[in-house]
Subunit: 357 residues, 2 copies
C-alpha cells in the first residue's frame, strides 16, 4: 500500500526535521485511515496519541515519547541528577499539553562504559524524584552500552478524560492565546554555551535551572480541561509550536510580542535578543493554550491557585484555508504586533528550532 | 524514598547490563510496591508491562520498548529496508512472548544528516511492511539528527487477555520446555562479521536473513494462550533467557542440548560452535515456552497449523529457592544433558550476551 507513494519525495531532499516528520506522518495517516482499529482515538498529530482505557468513564490513555541525545539535547557537563530530571520532564510536558495525569513510563538508556554505578544512581535519583512527585511508575525499558555519549529514550503514559483532552486542532476564532511562565531563558543560556555571546556568572547560575530543570506543567494542564480549547507545550520555540495549533485548527492568530512574558535576566538583554529567545527559542516546556474569552477570569483564578504566571499574548482571529505547499510557511499563520503596531518578522531569523540543523 | 537506598551499590561497579537492570529494577519495584495505582497489572519484570484496557472483557494493554544502536545492535552496512524490519520485529517479539496482539507503535529515530529521503523511504517501507502485516499503527514518536550513526527506539503496544497472558513467572514443575524455529544462526553470522572466523559466501547469504529479518512469533504467542504456562523471547541467548523464566518461577530445569533445533548450516559447524551459537547466541527472536505435558499433542497441532518447527528441549524439574546473591548465577538453575548424560558447561563460555560488554 505504501511502497509506491510518491508523497513529498521530490522536494524533501536534504532532510530537515519538519520534512522528515511530514514524510513519516503521511504514511501513518494512510495507515490510520485504512485501519479498522477502533481503540485508537487520536493518532500522530498531537503531543500525545490517545487510545482506549475505559469508555464508560470517558477515560483514555495518552502516550508520548521523546529522545534525548548527548551533544544534541543536552551538554556533556550536565550533572546526572539534572539529566535524569530533564529527560523525564520533557516527556511529562507532552502529557501536560493534553491535560493528562502521568501514570507510567518506560526508560531506554544507552550509557558509555565509563559511566559507573554512582553516575547511574544519581541519574535515577533525578528521574525518580520527579516521577514520585507525579505518581509516575517505571514499568519497562531497555539498556545498552553506548559508544557515543549518553542517549535516552523515554515513553510516558498518562490518563485523560476523552471529552476534555486538550488537542492542537481545537482552537476557535475569538479564543485568547495564553502562555505559562516566562519564555526564552533556556535559549539565552544556550547562546552562551554555543559561544554566540558571553553571559556573566550570576546570569548563568540563574539560567541553568531553567535549561536543565524544566517544570512540566502537569497541574496547569489538568486545570485547563474543559476550560481551554487547544494546547501545546513549547519545546521548539513559540512561533513554531503555536503554528502547529493554528495549522491544525485551520485558523490564524494575532501575536503581541511585547506581551510575551520574559524573566528579569532576559529583560536585561537587547530587544532583538529578547525577541529571538522568546519567539524562536526552544527548551521552554511552558504551555501555550487557547481559551474562549468567557473563561478569561477563570484563567486568572487558576494563575492564583497554582502560583504560575499566565499571560494573554494574542488572539485567534480568522479561519485560514491551508492551500500552501511550502513547508516553511509558519509565518503565514501569524500576524505580529508590537505595542499595537503590526510589524514584519524576518522568517529566517525566527524559524524555530530544527533538530536536523 | 529512594535517595538512601544502598541496594547493590557495593558490588555493581563496573557496570554490566544485568547489574544495571537489577539496579534500576530495585527502584522500580519499590515504586510499584508503594503505589496506590491499580491500573498497572504487571510491572518491570517481564517482556512487556501490562496495564488496564477493559476489565469486563479481561483485556489489558501490553507495552515494551527496545533500543537499536548502529554498531551495537546492527552493522552500518545493513540495508534500510532490513533495518526497518528488524527494528520493529525485535519489539514485536516482546509482544509475541506475552501472547499479545500488536496494535500500535511509536518510533524514535535519530539519523545522521547524510541520510537522505531515499534512505528514509526505504527504512519506513521496511517498518511499514511488517507493521501492516500485523495491523500495527504508528501513533507517535520523535526524530532528531544524530552525530553518531542511526539510533532507533521503538515502543510497541498490543492487547492481551489478562487471564492467559504468558508470563515469565508461571513455569510449573513437570512442564516441558519448548523452542520455536532454530537457534544460533544469527550468532553464527555475527562471529563472521566480528572476524572470529570466515564463512563461505553461500552460508553468509543464507544466514543474513536470519540476522537481519527475524520473524516475530506473534501467531505462535497467540496460539499458546491458555496452553503454555510461561514464555520469553530468545534475544540474548537461550541460557540467559530461559534462566529469566526459571528465576522468576523459582524452579530449575533440565536442558537437553542435543535436542536444541539447529539449521543445516549450523549443523555443518563443529559441535563447540553449535553449542555456543544455540546456547549463548542472541538475536534469535524465537520463543522459549513451558507447557504442561498434557498439552504435548496440542503443541504438535500448533506446529502443523502454523508451519513453524517446535521442539521439546527439556523439562522443569524442581522448585529452587533462590538464595544466591551472585548475579552471574545463571547456571545454577539449569542441569545440562547431552544424549541423556549430565554434563558440565563452562560458565564463562556460555554466559550469554551482555550489551555492556
Amino acid at each position: 500500500m505504501t511502497s509506491n507513494n510518491p508523497l513529498f519525495i521530490n522536494h524533501l531532499n536534504p532532510l530537515s526535521e519538519f520534512s522528515f516528520i511530514q514524510y513519516i506522518r503521511a504514511f501513518a495517516e494512510q495507515q490510520f485511515a485504512s485501519a479498522s482499529e477502533t481503540s485508537l482515538l487520536l493518532g500522530i498529530n498531537d503531543d500525545c496519541a490517545l487510545f482506549d482505557y475505559d469508555k464508560t468513564q470517558h477515560k483514555a490513555w495518552a502516550i508520548s515519547k521523546d529522545l534525548l541525545l548527548e551533544g544534541r539535547h543536552f551538554f556533556k557537563d550536565i550533572t546526572p541528577q539534572h539529566l535524569g530530571h530533564k529527560a523525564l520532564a520533557v516527556n511529562l510536558s507532552d502529557l501536560a499539553a493534553m491535560g493528562a495525569t502521568p501514570r507510567f513510563f518506560l526508560l531506554g538508556l544507552a550509557l558509555p562504559s565509563m559511566h559507573n554505578i554512582e553516575w547511574l544512581k544519581n541519574f535515577m535519583q533525578g528521574i525518580f524524584a520527579l516521577a514520585q512527585k507525579h505518581g509516575c511508575i517505571l514499568i519497562g525499558g531497555d539498556t545498552t552500552k553506548s559508544e557515543h555519549g549518553v542517549q535516552i529514550s523515554i515513553t510516558v503514559i498518562g490518563e485523560v478524560d476523552t471529552r476534555y483532552a486538550l488537542k492542537r486542532n481545537q482552537a476557535q476564532i475569538g479564543d485568547d492565546i495564553w502562555i505559562s511562565g516566562t519564555l526564552g531563558d533556556a535559549r539565552l543560556l544556550l547562546g552562551h554555551k554555543y559561544q554566540e555571546y558571553a553571559l556573566e556568572n550570576h546570569a548563568i547560575e540563574q539560567l541553568t535551572p531553567k535549561l536543565e530543570l524544566p517544570t512540566p506543567r502537569i497541574e496547569l494542564g489538568q486545570k485547563l480541561l474543559n476550560i481551554a480549547h487547544a494546547a501545546i507545550d513549547i519545546s521548539d520555540g513559540l512561533i513554531g509550536d503555536l503554528s502547529h495549533i493554528l495549522k491544525q485548527s485551520n485558523v490564524k492568530a494575532e501575536l503581541h510580542i511585547d506581551k510575551i512574558p520574559r524573566s528579569s535576566i532576559l529583560l536585561q538583554q537587547n530587544i532583538d535578543m529578547q525577541k529571538l529567545c522568546t519567539l524562536a527559542g526552544g527548551d521552554d516546556y511552558e504551555l501555550c493554550f487557547t481559551v474562549p474569552t468567557k473563561n478569561f477570569d477563570t484563567i486568572l483564578d487558576i494563575e492564583k491557585e497554582l502560583g504560575i504566571p499566565l499571560h494573554c499574548v494574542g488572539k485567534i482571529i480568522s479561519s485560514e484555508k491551508n492551500t500552501s505547499t511550502n513547508l516553511n510557511d509558519t509565518h503565514n499563520y501569524i500576524d505580529y504586533f508590537e505595542y499595537n503596531q503590526k510589524i514584519q518578522l524576518d522568517a529566517n531569523t525566527f524559524k524555530g528550532f530544527d533538530h536536523f540543523n
